[in-house]
């Protein structure tokens, strides 16, 4: 069962990848004004997406049966589910607005998310007492669905900016747009590096001294550019760190982060070298025909649809569950606080839009920031902040 489940996920992944190319293809052709062919290409694209989605649902159900609980209980499962919801949100919006271009941007983001998810341990984990509740499923699924729909506004915002930002001269706008795209590329960089070293079974161990002055052991799965505090290599002939950090800093995470940036930078520079253009400028022809008002509205609607779902899942259901599991509905735990931050951010977004007339470009930038906040809460809070917690 577990095997079937992971195969289904794999199939879904490949199908999304193929669908992306069909959506992209439909746009290429539409430049030549062959309306019929356009619709055929995007029709194939959406059909493949739907099959991929069905396959991912299959993954979800089989894993649920195998594990005895909904697969949303660890970082791998949750992040994968978020990717699935992203595709679901795209499918819904596709049927409302019939825009293939949205697929060209959303599906790759979903692909990145799913690939990123699979970098975490993938075993089925038993549930600790606090997680043994139906509210686990209810809360996590609605929260993820809400976040995914909100994230769709990021895809729309990106499309808007790629078309809108003038690429003929460099400006603050081109800089930040490139930074955003670089973030996506660096994620890809991380996935490539992590996969390569894990295929190569890389491991090198160090003894080091933690902040309480105690001896500890660290096992790196990527060559250590950054060594832990007062490290001593245990594995013979392994790559020796270039630098050492104080005990306060988690050297292993920093090392992974630097590798990702490095890989991202190399990828990015390669792309720039080959095309001799900014990445956004390379993408610009794809969006040439798109109606800015329409993408703007898609972005806004995603926020309008996603905001209530997010509030329900990430705040209200979360509070109900917290009241049962932890005796209090709210405890200022970092994950809770970041859900509140996300909520406040999109509340500000809506007010700025409705009352201050922040449409179009401003709204698109906000959507980008919103996505950063969501991803931060989804992943970084667990890895960085909760990491501090578990350290203490």
């Amino acid at each position: 069962m577990v095997e079937i489940s992971s195969n289904l996920l794999y199939i879904a992944f490949v199908l999304y990848l193929i669908a992306t190319f069909f959506f992209a293809g439909s746009i290429k052709i539409s430049k030549d004004k062959e309306e019929k062919k356009t619709s055929r290409w995007s029709l194939i694209g959406i059909v493949i997406t739907l099959i991929g989605f069905a396959s991912q649902i299959g993954y979800f159900i089989t894993r649920w049966i195998a594990g005895g609980h909904a697969p949303v209980s660890n970082l791998f499962e949750f992040t994968t589910f978020f990717g699935m919801m992203l595709v679901a949100a795209f499918i819904i919006i596709y049927f409302i607005y019939k825009t293939s271009i949205l697929g060209v941007f959303t599906l790759p983001v979903a692909l990145l998310v799913i690939a990123y998810a699979s970098m975490f341990p993938r075993e089925i984990t038993p549930l600790i007492p606090a997680l043994q509740s139906d509210w686990l499923h209810i809360h996590v699924t609605t929260a993820a669905a809400g976040e995914a729909i909100l994230a769709l506004s990021f895809a729309a915002g990106l499309i808007y900016l790629i078309k809108f930002v003038d690429q003929t001269k460099s400006s603050k706008r081109t800089f930040w747009l490139e930074t955003t795209l670089f973030g996506l590329i660096a994620t890809l960089g991380f996935i490539i590096v992590a996969t390569s070293f894990s295929l190569a079974d890389y491991e090198s161990k160090f003894n080091w001294v933690d902040k309480r002055g105690q001896e500890a052991e660290a096992a790196y799965h990527m060559p250590a550019l950054i060594g832990p505090h007062k490290y001593e290599s245990v594995t013979d002939g392994s790559f020796q760190p270039l630098a050492e950090v104080p005990a306060l800093i988690n050297a292993m995470k920093l090392n992974t982060f630097i590798w990702s940036l490095l890989a991202g930078t190399i990828l990015y520079l390669l792309i720039r070298l080959i095309f001799r253009k900014r990445v956004a400028a390379i993408l610009q022809p794809l969006v040439r025909k798109i109606d800015l008002n329409l993408v703007d509205e898609i972005g806004y609607r995603s926020v309008l649809i996603g905001f209530p779902i997010f509030t329900l899942g990430a705040l209200i259901f979360a509070m109900i569950w917290a009241q049962m599991a932890w005796t209090r509905f709210w405890g200022w735990d970092p994950k809770e606080v970041w859900a509140l931050v996300t909520f406040l951010f999109y509340a500000a977004f809506l007010h700025l839009r409705l009352s201050k007339g922040w449409h179009g470009e401003k709204s698109a930038w906000l959507a980008v920031i919103g996505f950063v906040i969501i991803m931060f809460n989804l992943i970084a809070v667990n890895l960085i902040i909760a990491g501090l917690h578990s350290y203490a």
Partner: protein, 538 residues
């Protein structure tokens, strides 16, 4: 600022863009602009009207959306700051916070502590921010909802030309001869528009209720925040912890002696690689100690009648429940949660009285560490007196024995052993692993003879009468957001004017949707679709 006078002679309050009497577009700003600002139906608000007294100034401050957004953004940033390092409530309790932040997080940690960010969410300025949002919500809603209500209620079925022309969606169709609006009306009705007519002018409108969405959700938020305030009202909120040993019945704190709880058994289970589902094996191999269950089999008693202090209360069983995480025991307004435990806590200590040389035993005694007796009779003239007891023993500053707490973590005793040959008795100081004899040359000794342990369960007792307000507030909030987000208020005006048909339309959001709807309403007629006047700007 001054009043706005209309051609028709009516004098309108400041901020008016449509004359209250005749509906003409008035005011320099509105007249010169291409599109009408329809946000509040172009009607004036209190915050624009007056600006004299300090009340008015505060009013217009808090009713400003700009201020509201600033408050939201500041709260957002402050909240995020509080997650950089753990809040004080999450740090280990055995160390002063001052040292903890510096030790763990270095200079930044120290700064964090000095700025008071370790208790950020209960700091006065954070609470002030939240309170300001609350005030702002009340004022901004009052400021807008009444004018909006009036404007929507009194809106004209046949607005003037200036109004129509300044709508974002607007178009004119030249017609030769008669044009029949019946089919359009039918199409509008099919799309569930309600229609008003006046001299051949049509106003079709739907989903006006969605305009109240923001106000409904703001009311929900206000109730929610109010519920949060109520926590500070005495009697609304109880948060206590009680430690109950197995077999023990104990008064429940926070209930003024009304309830007693008994711990029949405490269970802690781990996942088992053999017995539990095989799919977990891989995960359990990496991390073998995963908790499966914490459980207290508890019985709740209620006291009957009044008792004098010291009198044994008469108890009646009212509830029994296996309390697990996520499955609290509930009775009346109280809930009992499984939140903590201690396994194998020392509970009874056993000794035997022996002759140091011959090791002959003269009897045994068991000391209940929570309820030690003064004297233990061993028979045949042997007895042991307990002169002093230190449940959590350590040496004090002047190396005298003291106790750190009342929990028997490290019990120590001063015994007096009375025997037929030493009728005055010999004293002995007995602690774990050590015996100190003041006289140095005792004949008898209390030898350690075993220990009985017990599990202790930590239960949290909670009463929270504010939950109702929060639930109601939350529900109203959700209704409001959904109302405002999933429906849009749409209006379409159709007017016949000397051989022309004018069509204008307005929606509060989702223009793409209304354009598609209009196009389907007008299909099959000869009328042109109104153009988006925002489009030809760009």
């Amino acid at each position: 600022m001054k009043e706005v006078k209309c051609e028709c002679g009516h004098i309108n309050p400041v901020g008016t863009a449509l004359c209250e009497a005749c509906g003409r577009v008035v005011g320099e700003e509105a007249e010169s602009s291409k599109l009408l600002d329809m946000r509040y139906e172009a009607s004036p608000r209190r915050s624009q009207n007056y600006n004299r007294t300090s009340v008015d100034k505060i009013w217009s401050f808090f009713s400003s959306v700009k201020v509201g957004i600033w408050l939201i953004v500041l709260t957002l940033i402050a909240s995020a700051l509080g997650t950089i390092f753990p809040q004080e409530m999450y740090i280990p309790p055995n160390m002063p916070a001052v040292d903890y932040y510096e030790d763990e997080y270095g200079t930044l940690g120290k700064l964090y502590y000095q700025l008071g960010f370790h208790n950020l969410y209960s700091s006065w300025w954070y609470l002030l921010l939240i309170a300001s949002i609350g005030i702002s919500l009340v004022i901004c809603s009052l400021d807008r909802v009444i004018p909006l209500y009036k404007a929507l209620k009194n809106q004209r079925t046949a607005p003037r030309e200036g109004f129509l022309k300044r709508q974002r969606l607007f178009g004119i169709t030249e017609t030769s001869g008669q044009i029949d609006l019946e089919s359009i009306k039918k199409n509008l009705k099919n799309k569930r528009y309600s229609i008003k007519e006046e001299n051949g002018s049509i106003l079709a409108e739907k989903n006006r209720f969605s305009r109240w969405g923001p106000y409904v959700n703001h009311i929900g938020l206000i109730i929610f925040l109010f519920g949060g305030l109520l926590r500070f009202v005495p009697g609304m909120y109880v948060d206590e912890v009680v430690w109950v040993r197995e077999e023990e019945t104990i008064e429940v704190p926070g209930t003024s002696g009304q309830f007693y709880v008994k711990n029949e058994k405490f269970i802690r289970q781990l996942y088992d690689q053999e017995k539990d589902d095989q799919v977990y094996n891989e995960a359990l191999k990496k991390n073998p100690a995963v908790i499966k269950n914490f459980q207290t089999d508890a019985v709740l008693y209620e006291k009957k009648g009044n008792t004098l202090p010291g009198e044994q209360p008469e108890l009646k069983q009212v509830e029994s429940h296996s309390i697990q995480v996520n499955k609290p025991m509930k009775y009346k307004d109280f809930a009992f949660y499984q939140t903590d435990y201690k396994l194998d806590e020392m509970h009874k200590m056993k000794f035997k009285l022996i002759d140091k040389k011959t090791e002959e035993s003269f009897g045994k005694l068991t000391v209940d560490l929570y309820d030690p007796k003064k004297k233990y009779e061993l028979g045949s003239g042997y007895s042991v007196e307990l002169l002093n007891y230190f449940p959590d023993f350590e040496f004090g500053e002047n190396s005298e024995p003291i106790t750190k707490s009342r929990i028997p973590n490290n019990p120590a005793f001063v015994f007096n052993m009375k025997t037929p040959d030493k009728p005055k008795g010999e004293t002995s100081f007995v602690a774990i692993q050590q015996t100190i004899e003041p006289q140095e040359n005792n004949k008898y000794k209390l030898a350690f003879d075993g220990i009985e342990t017990q599990n202790v369960s930590g239960l949290t007792i909670r009463k929270d009468m504010t939950l109702w307000y929060l639930a109601i507030g939350g529900t109203i909030f959700m209704i409001g957001v959904i109302q405002g987000a999933y429906w849009n208020h749409r209006r379409i005006w159709v007017q016949k004017k000397n051989g022309q048909v004018w069509i204008a339309a307005h929606t509060n959001k989702n223009w793409f949707g209304i354009k598609r709807e209009i196009s389907s309403i007008l299909s099959g007629t000869t009328l042109n679709e109104p153009a988006d006047q925002l489009d030809d700007k760009s």
